[in-house]
Structure formats: C-alpha cells, structure tokens
C-alpha cells in the first residue's frame, strides 16, 4: 500500500471556541478505539488543527477505512503520502510519481493546492502551485489545468514533512462520542430503536440502553438479539452498557388489574418510569426512543403525550418524523437491519389487545393505574435492583 498515513478532516468541531481541544481530544480517543480492531499499529497525532494517523508498518487499508468511517466527528478521510523535504526538485518528482501510481490513466483536468504551513520553505504557495502545475503538464501531456472544476485536486502541504493527497473519503460526520453527555436508549428488538440510538450517538452522546425482557413470553434468543443490536450500534457509539430489566411480573400485574385495551400504554408508561430511574442512576441526561408519530397505536400523538407524561427528563425521538422506509434505509446503512428482522421477537402477543386505544385519555389511564398502587412500587424496585447488566462492544 502506497498510503501510510491519513489526514482526518473534521468540520463542525473545528469551529468550537475555547472548548476545541476537548473535541479534538475526544476525536483522537475515538479514532484510537476504532483502530484497535484493525490489523496493524497506528499512531495518532494532533497538529495545528489537523489530526493525522500514521500506520507503523504493515496494516489493512480496507479495514482501516471502514473503521474510520464509523467514527463520529470525521468529515473526511484523506489517504496521503508523506515525504521528507529534500528541496523542490525532489518534491516535483514525488508528485509526478504519485500521479503516475494513483491515476495511471492520467488524462484528467487538475489543480494544485499548495499550502505552506512551514514558512521557511523557499517558495510561497502561489509559486509552488505554478511550478508544480508546470512539471505535471510536462510529465503528462494529456492532462490539463482547470482551476474552476478540476477532476483532480492535488493537495501539497509543506509542514515538517511534506504531505501529498488528492482524495477525500467521506466520514460519517457528527461529533465525537463523549463530547455531549450521556443518553439512555430504550432498546427493543425492532428496527427503529437502534437507529434512534445511532442518531443521538452521532451528536457525540454516549449511549446506555435499557431492554425489557419478559420470560417466558420472550426467549433467550430475543434477549441475545438485543445484545447483538447493541453491539452493532457500539461499533459507532463505543461500548454500550445494556440494562436488561425483567418486566414479566409488572406486565402480568397490569394485565390482571387494568383494562386490556390500555395495557400497552400503561406498560409503556412503566417502561419509561423504569428507564428514567436507571438513567438518573447512570448519570444520563435524556431518554431516547425509536418512536415515530402514528406508526402504531402506541405512537399516536395522544399516546406519545400519555407516555411522555411520566418523565421529567427530556425524551429524544430522533426518528419521530421518519416513515418506516426511511428508518429502514438508515438501519441498512448502519447494518442493524438484518439483525432487527430476525423473527424471534414476541410471543407476548397474547398481551396485545386486538383493538388497543389509539387516543388514550390521560385521566382514564391514571385512574386505571390507581388499581396498581398496592404492589407496583415494590415491583419496580425489584425490577430495577435485579436487572442484569451487559457491556456490549
């Protein structure tokens, strides 16, 4: 592999004021995590508003790019070559060589972008552009200069060493994990919640997740599926602490005491309450759900209003305005879809009413919940204290 180093471009975080170093440090840290899984050894450095990755010896290029494409905060990945400064003649030779190797067809229109960051280089940027352009034209008579819409942009940066690059592979943008606090994701086995978690993580939020397990109505495999999903999201979001709450007793208690058509709404209200309690304990500052308006009975505006009412924490619903197909597209992109559609989800359909309320009346719901006073607090305590914790990474 010709490329032994990468220049990492980060857009948004570059403009943060005094906090900038915090963002950069977080990005360096996240890149480090991501590259741990890659074959090869790397050093990552921060230098004058740039992040560089250098491979120490042999490494897997494809794997490296794939891993970097999963790091939030990266706008672009530029594979580059680094050469020692041995004067302009040598530089020109290297650039010609570079084009020969990377663009063997060499019939492109091009433009040279020189940048002299180290001011003791004898030529200024404009001169380097002109002179290098001249050399390239001489070496490749088929190439033409086009300063407006070149097919090929050749960047030459004069730093301690000289960097040459011409390609920018798009990154997944967003902000580095760990720069924006923590959120608690309500993770089911479905398509939507992993996408919701991914979207919030993209803004730099560290993710923890809560899953409600209802054995024997849901199986060990259903639980494993959720762990697998959390692990897939963790490829972007970093290790995810998954709280697995046994919800069976609460579910059966509600089923016993409350009107059947209100079961789903009341259940969701208790899920939110429990998730919020765990969130507070974990230091999370918001809940995240995969709800989308009107998708199912429990996601109508009225239902969302009714479930939201039990929380004091903000509830983030990043896919709220998405159609199912739009969510599916994202799930495919982040590769959670295949796992989400595995079939062993709910044998708890016996709990789902044939005609659940779609416009729950909060007053009625609250009245129904009063029937649970006797035992519910204790059951919630038990559910929280007996929860299982799995670190998914």
């Amino acid at each position: 592999m010709l490329f032994k180093a990468f220049l990492i471009k980060y857009g948004e975080i570059g403009i943060k004021g005094k906090n900038r170093y915090l963002f950069e440090d977080a990005l360096v840290r996240q890149i480090g995590f991501a590259l741990k899984e890659v074959e090869g050894a790397f050093s990552i450095s921060k230098e004058q508003g740039r992040i560089y990755i250098e491979a120490d010896g042999e490494y897997d290029y494809e794997e490296t790019i794939a891993a970097l494409k999963r790091v939030f905060g990266i706008v672009g990945i530029c594979p580059m070559i680094q050469i020692e400064d041995k004067g302009f003649e040598n530089l020109a030779e290297e650039v010609v060589n570079y084009i020969k190797q990377i663009y063997p067809e060499n019939q492109l229109t091009f433009k040279v972008h020189a940048r002299r960051a180290r001011k003791n280089f004898p030529m200024d940027s404009m001169t380097i552009n002109k002179e290098l352009g001249d050399r390239i034209l001489k070496a490749f008579p088929m190439m033409r200069v086009d300063v407006h819409q070149p097919e090929l942009n050749i960047y030459v940066e004069i730093r301690k060493q000289i960097h040459i690059y011409s390609e920018t592979i798009p990154g997944c943008k967003g902000m580095p994990i760990g720069t924006n606090g923590k959120g608690m994701l309500l993770l089911s086995g479905g398509i939507d919640s992993p996408v919701a978690g991914w979207m919030v993580a993209k803004r730099g939020v560290e993710i923890e997740a809560t899953y409600f397990h209802a054995p024997p109505y849901t199986s060990e495999r259903a639980k494993q599926k959720v762990i697998d999903l959390a692990t897939l999201v963790a490829r972007y979001a970093g290790p995810i602490k998954l709280h697995i709450v046994n919800f069976t007793d609460i579910q059966l208690y509600i089923y016993d005491q409350c009107p059947h058509e209100e079961l789903t709404i009341i259940m969701r209200r208790y899920m939110m309450r429990i998730a919020e309690r765990i969130a507070v304990e974990s230091g999370a500052l918001g809940l995240i759900t995969g709800e989308s308006i009107g998708q199912v009975a429990s996601q109508t505006m009225q239902s969302l209003f009714a479930t939201n009412e039990v929380c004091t924490m903000p509830v983030f619903r990043p896919v709220i305005g998405f159609d199912k197909l739009e969510i599916v597209d994202l799930a495919l992109k982040i590769q959670t879809y295949e796992t989400s559609i595995q079939p062993f989800e709910d044998c708890c359909t016996i709990f789902v009413a044939k005609h659940p309320v779609t416009k729950p009346n909060l007053k009625l719901i609250k009245r129904s919940e009063e029937k649970l006073v006797e035992k519910i607090d204790e059951m919630i305590e038990t559910a929280i204290s007996t929860r299982e914790i799995v670190i998914c990474k």
Partner: protein
Amino acid sequence: MIAYLDNSATTKVLDSVQEIMVKTMVSDYGNPSSMHKKGVEAENYIKEARNCLAKVLKVEGKEIVFTSGGTEANNLALIGTAMANQRAGKHIITSCIEHPSITNGMNYLEKEGFEVTYLSVDKNGLINLEELKEAVRKDTILVSIMYVNNEIGAVEPIEEIAAIIKKKNPNVLFHVDAIQAFGKYRIYPKRMGIDLLSVSGHKIHGPKGSGFLYICSGVKIHPILFGGGQQNGIRSGTENVPAIAGLGKAAEEIYQNFETKIAYFYTLKAHFIEGIKKIEGTQIHGLTNQDSAPHIVSVGFLGIRSEVLLHALEEKGIFVSAGSACASNKTAVSATLKGIKVEQNYLDSTIRFSFSIFTTEEEIEYCLLTLQKTLEQLRRYTRKK
C-alpha cells in the same frame, strides 16, 4: 433439577465415545488415505466402526458409507439414486410427514423433472398401505419412508411396505430414514427388504456431524460430492475419523442390553403418559402404546403457546422442543402435525418430549409436577377476547 427431555433433537455423548474421539484427534490423527503407519492407524478406526455397524445391521461392511450426518445420508439416498436410475423412470413416492432433509430433497428433484407422490397419513401418522399399493407404478424408481417420525413417534410398518412395493414392482428401491429408529429398534435391512437406510450419530449418544447411509450392494447410486474418491468414490472427502470412530462406538453400546433398555423406555413413557392424561386440557398426538416409538411423546396443551410453555419449562430446568413454532411468526407449521390433522387450537400448542437412556423416573416426575404448576400459571393469562 435439570431434565433434558429433548433427546430427539440431540443426545449427550457417551464417555466411551468421547474417549475414542479424543484419541483419534490427539494421538492417532493420521489421514486414513496416507500410505504410512499414521494413515493405517487412522484407517483402522474406520474399519472398526464399519465392522460394528455391519454387525449390528447384519450387512457387509462395504455397504456402509459414512456421511456428515442424517441430512447428507438422506440427500445422498434420494438424489444419488434418482440420478442413477432416471432412465428407468422418474417417479418417486414418499409420505407427507417426512423430515425436511427428505421433503426439500424431493422439492429439488421435482424441479429437475421428477414426479413425486406424497402419501397421506392417518391421525396416528401411519401411511395407508392401499394408497401405497396404488401409487407404485412401472416408472417408479424409489420409495422413501421414515421408520419413526421425529415429531410424534409414529412407527411405519416398514416390512409390510417393502413387501408391497417389491411385489408390485421389484425394481423399485426402498429407502428408509431410520434416524429416529436406529438404536430403538433392531433393524436388519436385508431381511426387511430395505435397500437404503439413513442413520445419524448424534441421536444415539454419538457426535454431531456423524452418520451413514447403508447402500445394499448392487444398488445403482451416483455420488453427490466429488473429490479424491474416498469410500469407493461414493462419498469423497477425507473421512471424519473422530466422528466415525465415535459413531461406531455409540452404535455398539446402544445395542448392548438392548431389550432391557427398550423396556425401560416404555416404562418411562407409560409413566409420563399416565401423568399427562391427569392434566386438564391436554391431548397426546398419535399412538400411546408400544406400537409407537419408545422415546417420543407429543402433547398438545390447550390455550398455551408452545413457545411460551417451552420457555417457562426452560426456566425450571426442563428442556423440550416446540412441535410447531408461533404461527404468527410465519415459520412453517409442522408438516407432521398438519399431516395428522391436529386441530387448529392444538397446532400452536404442541410440545415434544423425548427421552434417552439417561432419563430418570425422577426427571419424569419433576416434569409432570412442573407442567401442572406452570400450566396453571400460564392459563391465568391467556389472551383476553
């Protein structure tokens, strides 16, 4: 307490099987095709296993072809004989309650231009011999019938079937899927009129990935795997020596004290069935007497989703199989349960219990008690109308 009652899915490996397998991996690890001493050592394990199986079945050692298990044995029998005999005809007969390794093989052959007749079964899972007689034609080349049904333990009248087929058309080959029967019945292919017989190792306390197809000498068959020509070219690929050695050992052991073992199985089964009959809302599929297999009992539980009951039993350390997965998940409804026309309200609610020589009376008792309690709890929460 742990009660593993899923022995038709797979069984625990015997200590003696494990020992011999370790030996073939750790010390006698040669390739049986190698010309040197190491190769001969390895080959001896295969000879030994072959002899064991030949003795048990009263056939020639060279009539045993080792495979990767039951599925491959069934596939080889089906596709191998169909391909080799298609000039004589393209008609095949089977039943509607066969294992997927037969049914899906048949589907493939149908796409390749073969015609397949599927025999119906009665409520006990037995094929109709008159229907069979009618179905055999001049251009019939193969009949494939399972010995013991894997879901409800129905036992097909193999000898009668063989007689009927051969009487009508002596050229028809008779294949028997004996994967659930081997080790539970004494099977002598030559005396029973069986031309091909499939067996799997892991149902008889042998290793997974082991099995064989008995092919009566003179039967025309084409290989379905091509390679170095091992096992007379019928099944190429370096022999899986550990699996073969384990299979041989398991077969040898399973037929020792055979009558005592089978009597024990039927005692367990009778005990279990007696207990089940005392539980309300249950239905046992198929026969319950000694005309049914000694180790399988299939029970429908009214109003209970089989998956839910399975997981509830699992919580109590009892491991069983669901007869048919959630119909709501669109996973295929069991062909056997459909074949014997189980009522709709039992279709989603069937559990298979299957025993082994390691199953104890205590386990059966524990399972019955747990069922009693669990059903009571689960039935409190059935779907509200």
